[in-house]
Symmetry: none
């Protein structure tokens, strides 16, 4: 791991002796807007934690990419882990809030299911930071998610959309009667997740470029098809 040295390596020092306030640095427009400051920190931290993991991320780096200072991070989040917790929580919330904006109620069940899968697939593909954070969190044995409130967990585990699709599918006689919604959700998640989470090792080992539009499209259909087939009679 390259020992990234952020600051310039000790420049020869100007002849002037008291540079004091390094006027060259970032403007750092004093926000005075707590919410925005918080949001900004979380945004930066989300990417940082997702890229480097909990222990790999550096508070200094996060502070530097932020509109505010390191002190503010501690002011708002108490500690590195506090910040990480906020990041995880925020990420899960975002995912929830955006998901299921799809109108699937008026489509035939199997078609609705396929659409749901495709949407999930694309959504995860579009949010690698979230996927990676889930990996990071699992490396840490889900210790932080475990601290979430029951309400948070409930909302995160809300698979009512899938439930209703299955219900309609069974009612219309196009799906197996013994489908376990959680099990099906897990299969969908697994197939979509892997595509983002393990793409680096997988594409290296199997010499395939998983990022091309063609490869993505093919995989999306394969996943949708696999799921649909798994519920049909």
């Amino acid at each position: 791991m390259a020992k990234a040295s952020t600051k310039a390596t000790a420049q020869p020092a100007p002849k002037v002796d008291k540079p004091k306030t390094s006027a060259t640095a970032k403007p750092k427009t004093r926000t005075n807007d707590p919410d925005r400051t918080r949001a900004n920190i979380i945004e930066v931290a989300t990417h940082e934690f997702s890229e480097k993991g909990l222990s790999g991320a550096r508070i200094d780096e996060i502070a530097e990419r932020t509109q505010t200072s390191k002190r503010m991070i501690y002011y708002y989040f108490e500690s590195k882990e506090g910040l990480y917790r906020a990041v995880i929580e925020n990420s899960y919330r975002r995912i929830r809030s955006i998901e299921a904006t799809l109108d699937l109620e008026h489509k035939p069940p199997l078609e609705a299911l396929a659409q749901h899968v495709r949407f999930t697939f694309d959504y995860q593909l579009a949010n690698p930071d979230f996927i990676r954070l889930v990996m990071v969190e699992n490396i840490h044995h889900g210790a932080h998610v475990a601290q979430f409130s029951p309400e948070q967990l409930d909302s995160m585990g809300d698979i009512s959309t899938l439930h209703s699709i299955i219900k309609r599918g069974i009612a219309e006689g196009v799906m197996r009667k013994d489908i376990d919604p959680v099990d099906l959700h897990m299969s969908i998640s697994a197939l979509c997740f892997f595509n983002v989470a393990n793409r680096h090792t997988f594409s290296t080992i199997f010499k395939v470029d998983m990022a091309t539009p063609a490869a993505t499209a093919a995989r999306r259909e394969s996943v949708a098809d696999t799921i649909v087939r798994s519920v049909t009679l």
Copy 2:
């Protein structure tokens, strides 16, 4: 790598073999057996890296759990990353060497495929360290796997078993003709992988205990079934 091991490619599992000389302090019997020393370090490090990730793992901790000293880690592996690389490489090798000891050639294709899936499922379940290392490596964008030699990659990407099953399946007219082996392999991997990799967050969010024998058995069948259905006509 030069200083390779004679025999044992660092078998992580068996806790046998440690002299455990009475007292509290480590025995530290001067081995003078480079292979064993290396293997021992890799074994310990494998677990450490899989538990804490690359940056989270501590060389000091690894050394402490080892028969040798911290210094030896550097003697054999040059750096923390060098050790990590050796761990990754060793883990992938082990997986390969043990996999496919199954005799599937004499079973009907669909049955063989189901068996192959169940085996993969169980194998990954039995080797969480490996699964977690793959996660860790992907957090690091697969940068270390990317350094492997073509031969290593070839052996890691060897899915001939699956190939021949598909071939027989098509020949016997029980499988779709348009199956892409790599795509199928990815689905199998995805479904098995998720079960180990994301079990912490998943079970917390969905309030299920994925570790019970019943849950495991059910999931194994679900996965096998999903895969088999995906290839049938």
Copy 3:
């Protein structure tokens, strides 16, 4: 000069100023004065590097002799080499700033030259740390001086004083017309430098004490005489 002022660029010499609060442990009064902290570190480091060289110097030792902690060294200088660079730069700057405070314009050229040589001789004798640092830097092939800015190098290579002396000398017909100022400067430097740089081996081998006032005075005159003779017609 004694009281390390805020701006003052690390005055190496004066050992004054340390509160020395009774007991053994360091006072470590939190300065919160970056300039003083920096200057203090450079002062201590200057001596340490000049005594032990770049690789021989110990950051721990430097920190211990400092008002601050080891951490601060890295805070301000990033690395051992960064500190060394700062030391080298500061040393050269100091030399420049103090040199040539002599008024030689109103003396006869040959006398002015002799004075200039005597001053250089005494100055180098009074600043062995600087001399030794130059040795250290040359052991390292001048790699750090090579990183200085053109402006810094210009000021370091400013020998206008010598230039004007030579000019006057030639004009007045008391010096050779073909004197190369840089060549002459090198001779002066060489003769003065050796006296400090190699005194240890030289005095051991030739069984002379070069440090006595008499020996110093004699050598000073010898050097001045040698230089003056070298330019006369």
Copy 4:
């Protein structure tokens, strides 16, 4: 200082498990000739110490560049410092043994002196390792030269050649009567030494290339001239 990593950075490891005796490495022809082994070690160490200084030199590096192993270094020289001592001693001896092979007795005194200076100049130029070792030793306050035996010191301080030149010069009435041979020797040494010792910083600061044949020739004559002028009446 770049953390040079000599060995290849942990290559991915061949699949073969028992390379054992890395046949690719140096042949290391078993000498069985103590003197040659010693000489070889000293030769390598001389360069290493002259390049990096006492603390900067690495026993491992020296051993690697040697025909023998690290163990031999300790066998013959006891410690790093012991080796350094041997290097210093050997270097001074070599210098002595080769110097003064010049026949100057039959030349006019001033011409003989000029020749002696030119020879010294060229000799030092041709032996930068020695020059640098002298610097290194002086950085260490000449502590190791101080341990030499009186005989060694006598031979090192033998300036009889110069003595006789001066004697003849005075007798023939072409030199000042009050020349101090040691002082003159110091001037010669200083002028020749500087040229090699400080060339890196000097040429950087004064933007001159001191290594060209023309520059070398000019400087050699300048030095010879300066010395000759310093002794004439």
